[in-house]
């Protein structure tokens, strides 16, 4: 019996879609989404903030530790001091220009930057592959972004992180599992953990927030950079 090849392909596609649908059944826990919305709203209400982020990335290349002190002033000012495996860099964004200074090699670089912090983070990430610490949390669409990318988001209960009583939210898709801890009292992120399930299985990223300051008075000067006399222009943004 001769079977029409088009018929076979169509059946195969349908079977595939059905299978995918079964495996990717989406579960969005209303309580988890509510807590994520509160977090997104709390961050969206900040007019300035500062925090410290300690992170550890584990990959096949080894372990990389990073500590970042982050300062956001309004929608268009940012300063980050980052110490990654004892390589220290500063990033200054003043609303029109993003500057980076390598404290150890005394090299600096500057690029024109978009109008806001979030556009700048987006732009630098897309153009130069530079990640800003915990930037995901600061997108105004954080909850929706999570829902768009994860098949399951549930509230797993409570857990104390560094003495802070936190909601534990678990999100997963076929490639990743993410745990997000939200401080119950401040509605701000306390910790997040990312574990790979895909070909990078074994890779993980854990980051802990501390020293949150909500709406501090930050001097405009701290977001401006002018290169020191003994610094040299380098191609750090490339």
């Amino acid at each position: 019996m001769k079977i029409d090849s088009k018929y076979l392909i169509a059946v195969a596609i349908l079977a595939c879609c059905w299978g995918c649908g079964e495996n990717n059944k989406k579960v969005y826990d209303a309580s988890a989404i509510q807590e994520l919305d509160k977090l997104t709203e709390t961050i969206g209400n900040l007019t300035s903030c500062s925090f410290t982020l300690n992170s550890q990335l584990v990959s096949s290349d080894g372990t990389s530790d990073r500590q970042s002190d982050v300062y956001f002033g309004g929608e268009n000012k940012m300063y980050i001091f980052s110490d990654r495996n004892d390589i220290r860099r500063g990033f200054w964004y003043d609303g029109s220009k993003l500057s980076v200074f390598d404290f150890d090699n005394k090299g600096y670089d500057e690029v024109n930057a978009p109008r806001t912090i979030m556009e700048t983070i987006d732009s630098v990430h897309n153009r130069y592959g530079i990640d800003f610490p915990a930037a995901d949390f600061f997108y105004p669409t954080f909850t929706d972004d999570l829902m768009a990318q994860f098949d399951a988001i549930v509230l797993n209960g409570s857990k104390a992180i560094d003495g802070a009583d936190c909601h534990e939210i678990f999100a997963s898709n076929k490639n990743l599992e993410v745990f997000i801890y939200i401080d119950k009292s401040t509605k701000l992120p306390k910790q997040f953990e990312i574990y790979h399930l895909d070909e990078k299985k074994g890779n993980s990223f854990v980051a802990t927030f501390s020293n949150w300051k909500e709406n501090p008075n930050l001097s405009a000067n701290m977001f401006k950079f002018s290169p020191p006399s003994n610094a040299t222009k380098s191609s750090i943004f490339k």
């Binding site: 969005y28 004892d86 806001t116 990640d131 020191p228």
Partner: protein, 300 residues
């Protein structure tokens, strides 16, 4: 055939968007600045324009506990957290790393500095080290001291009326006024304090708690954690109705200039300036060479 092409296109798109690589800032987001939801009013004072929620969302449920269980095994929470939480570099670790860099880049600079500056002596291995507690203190919103950044000491020239501690003058300027505290009398002239000695006057460090009417125009206003200090010639003052009163150097204060008379000391491979028993760490702020008051403690 047209339907087949549509299905094929959809499959390609699904495949493309499932290639997730989320580490830190790795999620796909609604384009920054444009927002994903309908009718989102941008809050210009917010750090991100204000929270934005999609007009329509996938259905939410109330799942039973443990309905979704993590596959990740060996999630060494306590271990990973402990490592991360303790990442805050200790001062001693930092010093090692910075010391190496200083050696690579600053040796010639130091020699030039030492040769050219008659007032600079470099002493090594003082029995003190930076007090670790600064890492848990905020200074103007910045946790801990600023990163160490060596720059050679260039004594600031305040003007002809400025003299370093120990300087001797035979006659006192007519503009000097006498100020007293605790039965000790001093002459004060344009930011400099003198005591009378045989045949003239010696410059002395500003006595703590003494009050003067005015400071020279080169004074700096230094804000530290909502307190305003006035700095001139290595001395800090607070202002009240009576004038400017000398105070101990506030821990963490950042100043632009150090006057003549400071001493460069090397502690754990890093160079600090010492003036009137106050230690100043060189740093870079906004591209400008500056100094921060740092608290030391005995190593013994």
């Amino acid at each position: 055939m047209k339907n087949f092409k549509s299905i094929y296109l959809i499959l390609i798109l699904i495949g493309a968007f499932s290639a997730s690589d989320l580490i830190a800032q790795r999620m796909r987001h609604a384009p920054a600045g444009r927002g994903g939801g309908g009718g989102h009013a941008v809050n210009r004072s917010s750090i991100n324009g204000g929270a934005n929620r999609a007009a329509t969302r996938p259905k939410t449920t109330t799942p039973s506990r443990n309905s979704v269980t993590p596959k990740t095994q060996n999630r060494d929470l306590s271990g990973s957290k402990a490592k991360v939480a303790n990442k805050k570099p200790s001062v001693s670790n930092k010093k090692t790393e910075i010391s190496n860099n200083s050696k690579k880049t600053n040796i010639s600079g130091n020699k030039v500095n030492i040769d050219n500056s008659k007032n600079v002596n470099v002493n090594v291995n003082r029995n003190v080290h930076v007090n670790n507690r600064h890492s848990n203190i905020y200074y103007n919103g910045h946790r801990g001291y600023h990163p160490y950044y060596y720059h050679p000491y260039r004594p600031y020239a305040y003007g002809p009326y400025w003299h370093p501690f120990g300087f001797f003058v035979a006659t006192m300027a007519t503009t000097a006024v006498m100020v007293s505290i605790a039965n000790s009398h001093y002459y004060y002239d344009q930011g400099v304090y003198y005591t009378q000695v045989s045949g003239g006057y010696n410059v002395v460090p500003p006595p703590v708690n003494i009050t003067v009417n005015e400071l020279p125009k080169e004074q700096e206003s230094v804000t530290l954690n909502d307190e305003t200090y006035y700095y001139y010639g290595g001395a800090f003052y607070v202002k009240d109705d009576k004038g400017f009163t000398v105070v101990e150097a506030p821990d963490g204060a950042v100043v632009t200039h150090l006057p003549e008379g400071a001493e460069e000391v090397e502690i754990d491979g890093e160079k600090y300036m010492v003036l009137n028993d106050t230690y100043y760490q060189p740093l870079l702020q906004d591209g400008q060479d500056m100094y921060q008051v740092v608290a030391m403690e005995s190593s013994n």
